[in-house]
């Protein structure tokens, strides 16, 4: 006689096994981290832990951080990094960033770096729990004494590259590379950072469309679709592959990536191979144009190395004080690995003539002759952001509450 149970055995075994595999991917682990003194003895290995939100080799945001750590290790051979990547609820369902930090601190880390905006609460929790460990939150504003969310936690610091001009350059290159003025952006989630970045890209695109291409700004369509997170989480976010495809198939001849992972490049390559005249603009990672060189307009990439180096040197010396750093580019030498907080690499698809325009634009941004955060500028809903001649303050830029007039896509 068979019961209900046996009726289902085979199908259940399969279902459960897949569940088991999924659930076990979750690996949390903690550890009571004793508070460590910040300054090590000379010659001793100094351990830095890094909590990474996505895959370490994503050809984007996360890999750029790992590159930064390699730079530090090259300059300071006695520094060792410990990494845990894919710390997000999709990949590790039962793990929080703060737990991973505990674990890294238990392994001897004296500095812990959280590499995503989403870790802001984990970073604060870790800093409170381990007052003798330097906690760095890459992005974020909890350590900005003039910011809105200052927490006054002495061992918590923020580091972020001032990438807004990088986004302006990216927008400019995209406009220069577009024939029909339809520029799509695959965006991550909506927050202050992504709003100001998208807006900066739009300002750059609009400027170059009008001033170098001499085209009517009305012909410029600048649309952003947000997927909901920094990268694809199947079943949770929109699928960036599909979003990119929709742009390429919908007549957008340039698609910009604003997410951590390379779907825009990969789908652009496929579309180009199928005969579409499309181009893409990459983000985050220096090698981004190598994904599809022939259709790449360029890539603005983070150069975390110098910023991390400075913090770790100070932490080693025991002099680090939690500060908020919005690290600037080196306009004299944008791609200088030792001095510039971001860099820009032009892609093959830009073309020689456009390269000249782009160089002119970059020069203008660097010497201040081109200042795009200047009024008159309106928000997306038509309200005034900056009056004529008014220049945005750092706070106004950082906490940009809406996208700008002329952009398509949700602001919140």
């Amino acid at each position: 006689m068979k019961t209900n149970h046996h009726r289902h055995y085979k199908s259940l075994a399969a279902l459960l096994l897949s569940g088991a595999l999924a659930s076990a991917c979750a690996a949390p682990s903690p550890s009571a981290a004793p508070a460590q003194p910040a300054a090590p003895a000379a010659g001793e290995t100094f351990t830095v832990g890094m909590v990474i939100v996505g895959p370490m080799n994503d050809k984007g945001w996360n890999e750029a951080h790992v590159e930064g750590t390699k730079y530090v290790m090259q300059k300071m051979p006695n520094v060792k990094f410990e990494y845990v990547d894919r710390v997000n609820p999709g990949d590790r369902p039962n793990v929080k960033g703060s737990q991973v930090a505990d674990e890294l601190i238990a392994k001897g880390a004296k500095v812990v770096i959280f590499n995503s905006d989403d870790f802001k609460d984990d970073a604060l929790e870790t800093a409170k729990k381990h007052p003798n460990v330097v906690v760095i939150h890459a992005s974020g504003d909890y350590a900005w004494s003039e910011g809105k969310n200052y927490k006054g936690q002495p061992n918590l610091g923020n580091l972020m590259s001032k990438m807004e001009p990088g986004w302006m350059i990216a927008g400019c290159a995209s406009a220069l590379g577009s024939e029909n003025g339809k520029i799509g952006t695959v965006g991550p989630l909506i927050n202050e950072e992504t709003r100001r970045y998208a807006s900066a890209a739009y300002l750059g695109a609009k400027y170059c469309w009008e001033n170098y291409k001499k085209r009517d700004p009305k012909e410029l369509q600048f649309k952003i679709t947000w997927i909901g997170f920094w990268f694809n989480i199947p079943g949770v976010t929109l699928d960036p592959t599909k979003v990119a495809d929709d742009f390429y198939n919908g007549g957008f001849d340039v698609v910009m990536s604003a997410i951590d992972t390379p779907e825009v490049a990969v789908q652009g390559k496929k579309a180009a191979e199928a005969g579409k005249r499309v181009k893409y603009h990459h983000y985050d990672y220096k090698g981004g144009c190598e994904l599809a060189p022939d259709i790449c307009l360029g890539v603005h990439y983070y150069n975390w190395g110098p910023g991390y180096l400075k913090i770790i040197q100070e932490a080693m010396a025991g002099t680090y004080k939690g500060t908020w750093t919005w690290a600037e580019a080196d306009w004299k030498d944008l791609n200088n690995p030792d001095s510039s907080a971001f860099g820009y690499i032009k892609g093959k698809a830009l073309g020689a003539e456009n390269e000249k325009f782009l160089d002119e634009f970059i020069k203008g941004l660097g010497d201040g002759s081109i200042d795009l955060w200047k009024g008159p500028l309106n928000f997306q809903d038509g309200s005034v952001f900056l009056k004529d001649g008014e220049r945005a303050t750092d706070q106004q830029i950082w906490y940009l509450p809406q996208l700008l007039e002329g952009m398509e896509g949700p602001s919140q």
Partner: protein, 365 residues
């Protein structure tokens, strides 16, 4: 009478006259261990190092032990709840959704009791937390009964009803996180604004383990052991599980029994979800269940539906879950390897049991 025996009703074929049943079980376990070792070797590590570092990563420090307990508590609740549904012959795969909906309900309650921007909650924090856990339980019941109603009245397989409702619950959570409950000015799937610290469940020292969650898990388990072994309700549940028609003919109110099983499982899962919110994440996140419901299913299947053995097995799985973070950290291995280990153990335990039933020699007397 042993509650575990309930689902074991497959009659061994008359021709079978093999080894004693334990032979198959031990054999299957041995094979699973060998395979686990092989998988670890193939991934380029030593089985001894891997097991050692996972054990060390689960019990090495107070924080780690705390986290094992923090994982164990909801797991006990889910596993205890699943004992009822399994014994009623139901595969309640919807347990994940019941956790999620419990978490949503608890978040809703806390948002009402401590509106955004308010400096203090409307009720004293311990009352607010207790109420949130209660509301979470009610949410879990609602989601469990929904699956039950679809099964009992709609004649939909509880497996598919449950899986469907899992998607629905996650969908609702994502909608709320991305929509009405989003952090001000932010649309991110990373979760809602964390609750005020006064609404966080107290912990053992600085660890993540909360005494309340552990107590609730143990109470649920103890209650389940008593109910399944010593009560008429438990007996009727097993009767329904063994043979629904026969139970019905003999006067057991089968529908009510089935719905009760869904209700209790939903309650426990909902409480687990609420605890994930007030005790672990302190906010609602899309994957708030952390797949602990599926893990609970594995635990209960591995212990052959007998609640007596849930505690050690759940503890083992929690430790595996926590310790596996050491794999990427210390050994540069994928932490999903622990999932493979877990899956192999369960698969072979089930296989051993099946073989024992089909080919095992019936014990004399």
């Amino acid at each position: 009478m042993n509650g575990a025996a309930a689902p074991q009703t497959m009659t061994p074929p008359a021709r079978a006259a093999g080894m004693p049943p334990t032979f198959y079980r031990i054999g299957a376990f041995a094979i699973s261990l060998i395979l686990v070792a092989l998988v670890i070797l193939i991934s380029g590590a030593s089985p001894v190092t891997v097991i050692g570092s996972m054990v060390g990563g689960a019990f090495g420090t107070a924080d780690q032990i705390g986290r094992v307990i923090a994982t164990l508590s909801p797991l006990l609740l889910c596993a205890a709840g699943l004992v009822y549904t399994f014994n009623a012959g139901l595969y309640n795969l919807g347990v994940e959704g019941q956790i999620t909906f419990g978490a949503i309900a608890a978040t809703w309650a806390l948002r009402l009791l401590h509106p955004e921007g308010a400096t203090a909650s409307l009720l004293p924090p311990p009352v607010a937390i207790a109420l949130a856990i209660f509301v979470g339980g009610v949410g879990g019941i609602a989601w469990g009964l929904l699956a039950g109603a679809l099964h009992v009245y709609g004649r939909i397989s509880e497996i598919f009803a449950g899986l469907g409702l899992n998607f629905a619950a996650t969908g609702i959570a994502i909608y709320l996180i991305f929509g009405p409950w989003k952090r001000p000015g932010v649309a991110s799937l990373s979760g809602t604004q964390p609750f005020d610290e006064s609404l966080w469940l107290g912990t053992f020292g600085k660890t993540e383990a909360t005494p309340v969650a552990l107590a609730l898990g143990l109470i649920a388990l103890l209650m389940t052991i008593v109910v399944m072994r010593n009560t008429y309700f438990g007996l009727r549940l097993r009767a329904v599980g063994r043979n629904l028609r026969a139970a019905y003919v003999l006067g057991v109110p089968a529908r009510r029994q089935l719905l009760s099983a869904f209700l209790i499982c939903g309650l426990f899962a909902g409480v687990a979800g609420a605890l994930q919110v007030v005790g672990v994440f302190h906010r609602l996140i899309p994957n708030v269940s952390s797949n602990l419901g599926f893990l609970g299913l594995l635990v209960v299947m591995l212990v052959n539906f007998d609640p007596l053995w849930i505690l050690p097995v759940a503890l083992f799985f929690s430790a595996l879950n926590i310790g596996s973070l050491q794999l990427p950290l210390s050994l540069g291995l994928e932490s999903s390897l622990s999932g493979v280990i877990q899956g192999l153990l369960v698969l072979f335990a089930l296989l051993g049991r099946g073989l024992a039933q089909v080919y095992g020699r019936k014990p004399e007397g």
